[in-house]
């Protein structure tokens, strides 16, 4: 290097130390961000002088197959901004309580020695209560000592349990997967206490209901590396640049491998730059396009030139060949229920014969019963529950006919509803006449025959009102028909369908759909999803690497789910956690139900034929029915305390649990005891105490935010909607709407977000660089840690430690009020993956005298749970012996050996004289989870596979054979992320670096889906689905703005636009959006995106302020004017805080304007409430209506002189 000296004087180079010194650092620690972004990225946190200075991505993910691009680096613009928060001025450093409340509390505490009595005195004084409720969100925070804040919380807990019952104390925290122990902290505390955990995945509208409908699965998708295996990718309603930032490279890379990329998006969304074709489809009309795609596939690949590979696929892996009864009606036959095995003499002796189903066997030409259905799953016999092509009753091979055509003994005209046209059409299907055991003569056809007729694809010999050609625009689901909805030319639909099916055929099913909230947030999202999934199923693309429906909305994949859920819901101590689906709960409790009339105003359904249809009336009435029938949960359960209910039963002579349950059922039947859902506005039914942690429950996820402010908080609000449900919601008591239902709202947070600002108590939480935890996601197949790079700053503590403190203090105060253990009657709905899947073949309501109330059968389960409030703290910190038996997704895991290993080798606590594995510290919990999970302990995976292998009768243990000795600990993860093991709790296979793709186990190992027939369902024969006209894939038009009613009571000021809230670039939900980094790189606020011509029409130029309003509330922000959006729609990216630079609203009397959820109100799609049947049974975050919000309309006008 001597020559350098010739060129430049080395002395002039000495200054270079200047920047070298900046780069120096003291250590790097591995952590990640717990933010429900699905990234699950491993980061190195750099510490210098004891201060976190910056973060950089870790690169050391174990590699997948060599043919796949690697995962490094993972991490986005938001994650890399996180270090700003630690020492920023928005950091919550100390506990805060609002002055109005802390003054009342201190006064009361002087008067009462017992904190519980002190809290009671405040609650007994309506003026005092209203005083601090009115102050919510309006400043006046006071810094307090941690002990004082915790005592206040503990007093509120004990008081609420004592006066109202434990199910008035609720908690909300988002998706657990990103910081599993942190979620588990509050959930465990609440579950030990009998409190209520609110769901999140459905409330965010992240849950795709089509997934449970078709697959019996909450969500199961490919990891992002598998996109590279695809040969054709359709992206719809998803913007991976924005939302899957660390995964998006697989899209680009797949494209460079020759994959065709078609992006459907009304705006030129960022991902469109990767498209070979960008299809500017009309917002929310993707369902129409996909219906036409399947029309073309059915016509060309099933009728004109049938493809054996496609037929064989649907024969074995779907319900295509299952026989469906055709029921006569005045206008023609209608598609009815699946023909059950017990209908036929041949299967007369079959156990659960009404839950086993029939196909027409091509070999014998007779109806035969394959295995794999719910009846086989929940029967006594092993080895019956599989997808083999054989009749398990005899072992004979069968070959299901997917169509009766050519085997039929007649044709039957069937009525098909076309909801877009408001008519029914008659089309002939091939049918067979069968004699049943009870002497009936029934007409049957196959699900496939019904479906192809539904799509309007005519076959030879079948008459009726079929589509004449692709150009028949009058016949639903033709390429020409879809144009009027999607705005997409028929040629695009036809060529897309051909390329799709050809690619699938040539590659063995490597076509995938990447789909997201842009579809899932519409009212009819389940139908839109289903229309796409049908195209996947018809072309054999599900359960294949590179294929399938890849729904990425929320980080729902908590890989070590079995031990985690035991810890989170305290099942190690007692069953009976109260798990509430949040959409139903908020719809009812925050009184949004009061603001709408019949759902049929905006939701087309078949005519209520004989008055028994559930597809009529008010959504709240169906919700109440869903609770009565055991389809959905609802808390509080009763208009009495669930503790008092047991006491009364005991007082009336009940001895056993069965006695208690019988007495309660009798009281419910007589009306002496009422379920709270029927009178949600009565004070005895209000929720009282709310814990919020890891989330922004009052803003980012508060659909109907202004309704929250009004009815929950009792503070100012900007809603002007008028109530409409009086006299229409018949099963619910109508009272004056309460304002301020909650006694107390406590937020655990590291930043002063909107929820913190509106809460009564704010506790300082440790950040993601200050605590131990676990992280997993469905976007990759690793598990990795959060770690303490620096200790929790200032007075902050981890969620785990904060809830332990609350539990310990609550136990201490409970000693006086509940010195003895209590009995709590817990009411839970009929559960998925349990024998309750075969509870209800018909919809019968005991409260209407249609059947007897039988817990667990015609109504919810009722269980007596013993609780000891004085032991909350001890039990919180120790793993109870109930953890020896784990289960998840129907797989039972006996882990007694491993539990004892923990007792021997891990830190322990002594509870009631017993040595139990410790959960005192979060890292203890992490190690317990890793030790007991099949995904991280190969021996447990082997046990689970052995259990399933025996039950199903298919070979599975080979999947764990190579990794029985694999085992990881928390410190292993700190040194490197680890790939998950093959697990009986999940459906994808990971052997030898193979990319995870959902349902490959089903396809390759013949393990059934957890559905009614065990197959993927084209056809949904739940009586409720038939009532709603959704038994077959269909298209229902978007609710009209008038009927949906967002602008009924608003001034006609400004233009009307469809209001979209997709995920944005500068935040993950509301996190990061308030950081200096993201504000600087965006527009210094969360702006309002509007089309250039629309903006011009209201005199708005770029960066002007605008006022966006509807009946629900108002938002004031800056406009971004862009050609990127089509006319008629607008975007506020999800989701801004209302705490940063938000102006006041002239339309609302110069009150501070709100955030994006100020413009929403939730409508629930009632068909998603039905249950008690197969895959239509409740599981937390799996089943129930979702919090849709994309059909919303707003008005927009210029705001000339903003006042901030």
């Amino acid at each position: 290097m001597k020559w350098i000296k010739d060129l430049f004087s080395p002395k002039t180079r000495a200054w270079e130390e200047f920047y070298r010194n900046r780069w120096q650092h003291d250590k790097r620690v591995r952590s990640t961000h717990g933010v429900n972004c699905t990234g699950g990225c491993s980061w190195e946190i750099f510490v210098k002088d004891g201060i976190v200075t910056w973060e950089m991505q870790a690169l050391d993910y174990p590699k997948l197959e060599k043919s796949l691009p690697p995962y490094e680096p993972r991490g986005c613009q938001r994650g890399i901004s996180f270090s700003w928060y630690l020492y920023s001025p928005i950091r919550v450093k100390y506990p805060y309580v609002r002055g109005a409340l802390i003054d009342l509390w201190r006064t009361a505490r002087k008067r009462y020695d017992d904190p519980v009595e002190a809290w009671q005195s405040i609650q007994d004084d309506p003026k005092a209560r209203a005083r601090y409720q009115r102050a919510r969100g309006k400043g006046g925070f006071r810094r307090v000592k941690m002990d004082e804040a915790v005592e206040l919380l503990a007093a509120a807990n004990v008081h609420s349990i004592k006066r109202h019952g434990p199910d008035r104390v609720v908690g909300f925290s988002p998706i657990p997967a990103m910081s599993q122990l942190s979620y588990a902290s509050g959930a465990r505390f609440l579950s030990l206490m009998g409190g209520v955990c609110l769901s999140f995945y459905d409330w965010y509208c992240d849950l795709p209901p089509a997934s449970p409908e078709i697959w019996g699965e909450q969500t199961d998708v490919a990891e992002s590396a598998d996109w590279y295996n695809a040969a054709m990718v359709a992206v719809m309603g998803s913007n991976p640049n924005m939302t899957r930032t660390p995964d998006c490279h697989f899209i680009a890379e797949s494209r460079h491998n020759g994959t065709k990329m078609v992006v459907f998006s009304p705006d030129f969304a960022q991902v469109s730059k990767f498209a070979d074709q960008w299809v500017a489809i009309n917002a929310g009309q993707d369902g129409a396009f996909w219906m036409a795609v399947s029309h073309v596939i059915l016509k060309e690949f099933y009728v004109d030139a049938p493809r054996p590979s496609f037929e064989d696929y649907i024969r074995q892996y779907t319900d295509a060949g299952f026989l469906v009864e055709l029921t006569p009606s005045e206008t023609g036959h209608r598609a009815g229920r699946l023909l059950t095995a017990q209908s036929l003499e041949r299967y007369a002796g079959e156990e659960h014969g009404e839950w086993k189903f029939l196909v027409l066997d091509e070999i014998t030409g007779a109806p035969r019963m394959p295995g794999g259905a719910a009846g086989q799953r929940w029967g006594q016999k092993d080895q019956q529950w599989n997808l083999k092509l054989e009749d398990p009753s005899t072992g004979e091979a069968i070959r299901p006919a997917i169509s009766l055509l050519g085997r039929h003994d007649g044709t039957t005209p069937v009525v098909f509803e076309e909801f877009d046209a408001g008519r029914g059409v008659l089309r002939e299907v091939p049918s067979l006449r069968l004699k049943t055991r009870d002497g009936r003569e029934v007409l049957v056809t196959t699900a496939f025959d019904l479906m192809i007729a539904r799509y309007g694809v005519q076959r030879e010999g079948l008459g009726g009102d079929y589509a004449k050609s692709y150009d028949d625009a009058e016949s639903s689901y033709t390429p020409a028909w879809q144009e009027k909805w999607s705005g997409v030319d028929r040629k695009t639909a036809i060529s897309f369908a051909r390329e799709w099916a050809n690619t699938a055929e040539k590659t063995g099913g490597r076509c995938c759909i990447i789909i997201g909230a842009g579809i899932n947030h519409w009212y009819h999202n389940n139908l839109m999803y289903r229309s796409g999934i049908v195209a996947l199923m018809l072309t054999g693309c599900v359960g294949k690497n590179g294929g399938g429906l890849n729904h990425y909305v929320g980080q729902e994949k908590l890989a070590p789910v079995a031990p985690w859920s035991t810890i989170a819901f305290a099942r190690d101590w007692a069953a009976g956690a109260r798990l509430q689906n949040a959409p139903s709960w908020h719809y009812i409790h925050c009184d949004q139900w009061r603001y709408e009339a019949e759902f049929t105003e905006y939701h087309p359904v078949p005519d209520a034929r004989d008055g028994t249809s559930v597809a009529q009336g008010h959504t709240a009435d169906l919700q109440a029915k869903a609770v009565r029938c055991g389809w959905l949960p609802f808390f509080p359960q009763f208009n009495e305390s669930s503790l008092e209910v047991v006491k009364k039963a005991r007082a009336a002579g009940a001895v056993t649990e069965a006695d208690i349950v019988a007495k309660v059922v009798a009281r419910l039947k007589s009306g002496d005891l009422k379920m709270s859902v029927h009178d949600p506005d009565a004070p005895e039914n209000w929720p009282r105490v709310w814990y919020i942690w890891r989330g922004n429950a009052l803003m980012a996820s508060a659909k109907g935010h202004e309704y929250f402010l009004k009815h929950y908080l009792g503070t100012h609000h900007n809603l002007i909607a008028k109530e409409r449900a009086e006299g229409i919601a018949k099963d619910l008591v109508w009272r004056d709407a309460p304002e301020g239902k909650f006694d107390l709202i406590c937020d655990l947070n590291f930043r002063m977000d909107t929820s913190a600002l509106y809460s009564d108590v704010v506790l300082p939480a440790a950040t993601w660089y200050e605590k131990a935890d676990l992280n997993s996601t469905d976007l990759h197949s690793y598990i990795h840690p959060l770690s303490e790079a620096v200790p929790p700053a200032w007075e902050s503590r981890s969620d785990w430690d904060l809830f332990r403190a609350i539990a310990e203090k609550t136990a201490e105060l409970a000693a006086r009020h509940f010195p003895e253990p209590v009995e709590d009657l817990v009411m839970t709905p009929l559960a998925h993956d349990s024998p309750a899947e075969i509870a209800q073949r018909e919809i019968l309501d005991w409260s209407k005298g249609e059947c007897e109330p039988i817990p667990g059968k015609t109504m919810p389960h009722l269980t007596v749970v013993k609780r000891d409030f004085t032991k909350l703290g001890e039990r919180y910190s120790a793993l109870g012996e109930g953890a020896k038996n784990l289960s998840a997704h129907g797989v039972k895991l006996d882990v007694a050996t491993e539990y004892d290993e923990l007792r021997r080798d891990a830190p322990c606590e002594v509870v009631d004289g017993k040595r139990l594995p410790s959960l005192r510290r979060a890292e203890h919990g992490a190690n317990v989870i890793l030790h007991l999970a099949p995904e991280t302990n190969g021996e447990i995976a082997h046990k689970g596979y052995a259990y399933l292998e025996k039950r199903a009768g298919v070979k599975l243990t080979d999947l764990a054979a190579g990794s029985r000795d694999a085992h990881v600990s928390y410190t292993d993860l700190q040194s490197q992320p680890r790939r998950l093991l093959n697990s009986p709790c999940w459906s994808g296979l990971l052997t030898d670096g193979r990319a995870y793709s959902a349902f490959t186990t089903q396809v390759e190992k013949l393990l059934p889906w957890r559905t009614l027939t065990g197959r993927q369902h084209f056809y949904l024969d739940h009586p409720g689905y038939i009532d709603f006209g959704e038994e077959l894939p269909t298209f229902k038009p978007e609710p009209t703005p008038d009927a949906y009613g967002d602008l009924r009571d608003s001034p006609e000021d400004g233009i009307v636009l469809n209001y979209l809230t997709p995920h944005g670039k500068w935040h993950i939900h509301s996190t990061y959006g308030d950081t200096h980094r993201m504000l600087t790189l965006s527009r210094g606020c969360e702006p309002f995106w509007i089309n250039a011509a629309d903006a011009e029409s209201i005199g708005v130029v770029d960066n002007d302020y605008v006022e966006i309003h509807n009946d629900h509330g108002v938002v004031c922000t800056r406009a971004v004017v862009s050609h990127r959006l089509p006319r008629g729609v607008c975007i506020i990216y999800h989701s801004p805080e209302r705490t940063l630079g938000v102006p006041k609203s002239p339309l609302r009397g110069m009150r501070r304007a709100g955030g994006h959820n100020s413009l929403t109100r939730v409508r629930l799609k009632p068909v998603l409430m039905v249950g008690g049947y197969g895959q239509f049974t409740f599981h937390f975050n799996y089943w129930g209506p979702t919090g849709v919000n994309r059909d919303t309309r707003v008005r927009v006008r210029r705001l000339p002189n903003p006042v901030i």
Partner: protein, 497 residues
């Protein structure tokens, strides 16, 4: 032959997702301090758009770079002689309005606000004055076509288009955008270095990194106007200019620069190029249309024995030559000719090269709606939404040929890979496309591998920096440095004289 070793770069724009992670990685480490708030050594721009600082590409206004002047080239705006005249008033210097006034919020109000009648908010304030302000601009203001009637429509590169074509760019059938991340190009003929009256700017001999000496800078700011890419910035607090340092402290310890490391689109490549400094003048003193080729002629083949001998003669070590032979940048720029310099017409010989992006095919809107059905399975370059002449303005100094070549080859590689995986394109069809694109199967697979599969160590081939020798060059004892590095009192940089 005067062989120089240059750390050079490729950004593969087809892969860029526009996430700006790179920008923040840089900001966190280097410019997160007083006076540097507005500095974005790494920024990402949406194209079409006006970029940062706004309309930086408009040299009518900013007068950056070099221009041909008869037999030689000269700086467009200032040089050391003319500069003296304009030092107190340099009209080509960007002002704060061309950047933005850095802002923050009064976050603390959310904690401290007294109870009132309405909800408190944090208000925007200037980071320079501390006073309330109206936010009117930012470093990424026109992101994703934000404000397209004002910004995208005024992209200087649209001058290549007819008024009709410009109008059509904003119709849905043609609407499109892509991203261009930008750092200092560490040019082989840097106009910033040439412009500095104080000699504070220099190009490091061992790796070609262009640095700005923080001791020597005298705040002339000639570098700011001379750089046609506007990649030097004046620190208003220390009174020194600063610029991208290509993370030399990281490179010196064998790590990729922060923006490269953090690139989650995996679009970035870094490696050595050897070039012949004797050919610099030849490379810049040609008509615009020949600039891309001329620059390539300056770059040397690291496998050529003559080059190797000349390099060794110059003191370039075997390990650096080996790194040059493994350089992904050499492959993209020289072997495959896929990567092109940005705005070569400024004649600074940028050492950062861009692979131009493929974009969606055009649509038609007819009687039946929006139609994107196309003849070819993956479309073609001429069906792409952005006119080639726009791309040529950015990456071909106006010449479409090198851009067409790079795009055609990318598309041919995709067809080749398609034929392998989906067999709906025949090997013959794929071969014909490859031949037409001046590519063979071996090269196509190599392109695919480096574009799609490459791991960190394939994308970044960092040459050994021999810090021990560099310390000796300062007449210091390396063993002593081992014991004393980092010892001393920390001092902030002082405002210059």
């Amino acid at each position: 032959m005067d062989v120089r070793s240059q750390v050079a770069m490729v950004f593969h724009l087809d892969k860029c997702i526009g996430c700006h992670t790179c920008s923040i990685a840089c900001k966190n480490v280097w410019t997160d301090r007083k006076g540097a708030e507005y500095m974005w050594w790494n920024n990402v721009e949406t194209k079409p758009g006006t970029g940062y600082p706004t309309r930086w590409e408009d040299q009518q206004q900013y007068k950056g770079g070099w221009e041909r002047d008869g037999k030689l080239i000269k700086l467009r705006a200032v040089d050391k002689v003319r500069g003296a005249v304009t030092v107190f008033h340099n009209p080509a210097l960007p002002t704060i309005d061309d950047y933005y006034e850095p802002f923050t919020y009064t976050y603390e109000e959310l904690f401290t606000a007294a109870e009132g009648a309405d909800q408190p908010v944090a208000k925007p304030i200037s980071m320079i004055t501390g006073k309330p302000m109206n936010i009117e601009a930012g470093p990424n203001w026109d992101d994703d076509l934000g404000g397209s009637p004002v910004y995208a429509a005024n992209d200087p590169n649209l001058e290549a288009l007819t008024p009709e074509e410009r109008q059509q760019m904003f119709d849905v059938e043609k609407l499109v955008f892509f991203y261009v991340p930008r750092i200092c190009n560490h040019c082989a003929n840097p106009s910033c270095v040439a412009s500095c009256p104080s000699g504070a700017l220099y190009k490091r001999g061992e790796d070609g990194i262009v640095l700005l000496n923080q001791e020597r800078c005298r705040a002339w700011r000639f570098c700011v106007s001379a750089c046609p890419y506007k990649k030097t910035y004046f620190n208003w607090s220390t009174g020194k200019s600063e610029k991208c340092i290509l993370c030399y402290p990281r490179l010196e310890s064998g790590q990729a620069p922060a923006c490269f490391h953090s690139c989650v689109g995996r679009i970035r490549y870094l490696g050595i190029l050897l070039y012949d400094a004797d050919k610099i003048l030849d490379a810049v003193n040609v008509p615009d249309s020949e600039l891309v080729d001329a620059q390539r002629r300056m770059i040397l083949d690291p496998f050529d024995p003559e080059v190797i001998a000349a390099a060794k003669e110059r003191g370039i070590g075997d390990d650096v030559i080996s790194a040059a032979q493994r350089s992904p940048v050499y492959k993209f720029v020289m072997e495959w000719k896929l990567a092109l310099p940005l705005h070569a017409e400024h004649r600074t010989l940028p050492m950062l090269f861009y692979v131009p992006p493929m974009l969606p095919v055009q649509a038609k809107v007819g009687d039946y709606g929006y139609d994107t059905s196309v003849e070819g399975f993956l479309g073609s370059i001429d069906q792409a939404r952005l006119p080639l002449k726009y791309m040529a303005k950015l990456f071909g100094a106006g010449n479409e040929a090198p851009v067409r070549y790079a795009l055609r080859k990318q598309l041919a590689v995709r067809h080749h890979r398609r034929a392998l995986q989906a067999c709906d394109i025949t090997p013959e069809q794929a071969q014909a496309l490859l031949t037409e694109a001046d590519c063979d199967v071996e090269q196509a697979d190599a392109i695919h591998r480096l574009t799609a599969i490459a791991a960190f160590e394939d994308r970044f081939v960092i040459p050994p920096m021999h810090r021990e020798e560099a310390i000796e060059l300062l007449d210091e004892d390396t063993l002593a440095a081992k014991g004393s590095t980092g010892i001393g009192f920390r001092e902030g940089p002082a405002r210059g004289p």
